[in-house]
Subunit: 215 residues, 2 copies
Amino acid sequence: MGTLTSRTNAPHAPNLPKQDRSRATRRHLLEAAVACLAEHGWAGSTVAVVAERAGVSRGAAQHHFPTREDLFTAAVEHVAEERSAALRGLLSATRPVVGPARTYAVVEGIADLCTGPLFRAALQLWVAAANEEPLRSRVVDLEVRVGREVHRMAVELLGADESVPGVRETVQGFLDMARGLGLANLLTDDSARRERVVAHWAALLDDVLRPRGRG
Amino acid sequence: MGTLTSRTNAPHAPNLPKQDRSRATRRHLLEAAVACLAEHGWAGSTVAVVAERAGVSRGAAQHHFPTREDLFTAAVEHVAEERSAALRGLLSATRPVVGPARTYAVVEGIADLCTGPLFRAALQLWVAAANEEPLRSRVVDLEVRVGREVHRMAVELLGADESVPGVRETVQGFLDMARGLGLANLLTDDSARRERVVAHWAALLDDVLRPRGRG
């Protein structure tokens, strides 16, 4: 899924049209903001620190993102969209389309998404927002959008039929579990335990979502 | 389960033996520390703020807890033990001892534990620890102890037989889910959605843990 720190240096490509350069600068700022949040937390994350990390002048950074809240909420949303799209793309190209192996790949992919730098960054932002306005209301809006998008992605990738009673709650509970796995990986490497939980719960989930196929 | 802010005023009961007064002061400090962390986060939580909240002199607070790390890690551990014991006591007195209604009560009780002030406080401490030594190593130790205790409690209350392959991972995944539900409740009241997820997953969990009893 690529590392968050890749390509955070601003492109000095004078042959690019101005609009493309501006878009590239914006993208570098967003990626640098997520990496910064994940590494240093909200207290250590300012527009100036991110601008320096991205190799962009502070003025240019402020042109794109007038406030600290603008920069970091946009960053988490942008990177969440990008990573979701990457996972969707990766798994859409993968066979089989349904069945236990497919469910395992989806559960593993979503658990990975919840244990990487993006989740760490989001967690820092969420927890800071609990005690701080105006960040709080911005993050509440963001949570609704990102939550919906991740749910939609999970339903699609799992091939889940939400018209069946209970399927919606099955998927929601699984996503809560994935976030809990992310939390458990915050301070220590939880990958060995997580692997066992993921393998076991992928099988449970596959049974629940497709009970007829497995008896 | 009681509120975290109850009884945070120090007892001015001169008839109590000195040792009892000291123990009571300590308990008030621990309860106040958790309430403070939950409300103000790590940045807003100091020994002085907690001492004032508990109605204890700063000197007395520092006598019990020489450092900020001492106070807040001890607080989360103490309150976690107290709340676990309360849940255990509540559910041990409840019939039926097994079956779907029992599983529902346990799942609901643990989900409640993960959405109250204790979980909020723990979350603030965990996330602060990700970017700060010496807090980090203290919280890593704490995580091991609290994690083990909560797992043991869940196994006991669910009547789960961990000698059966997969049961350990079933319980672990459920606890990850409970923590994810706690995260989802951080900024907004998620209780309506959570109720549906809890009801649905309690039934699934009961099926998985006792497949023979339900066919």
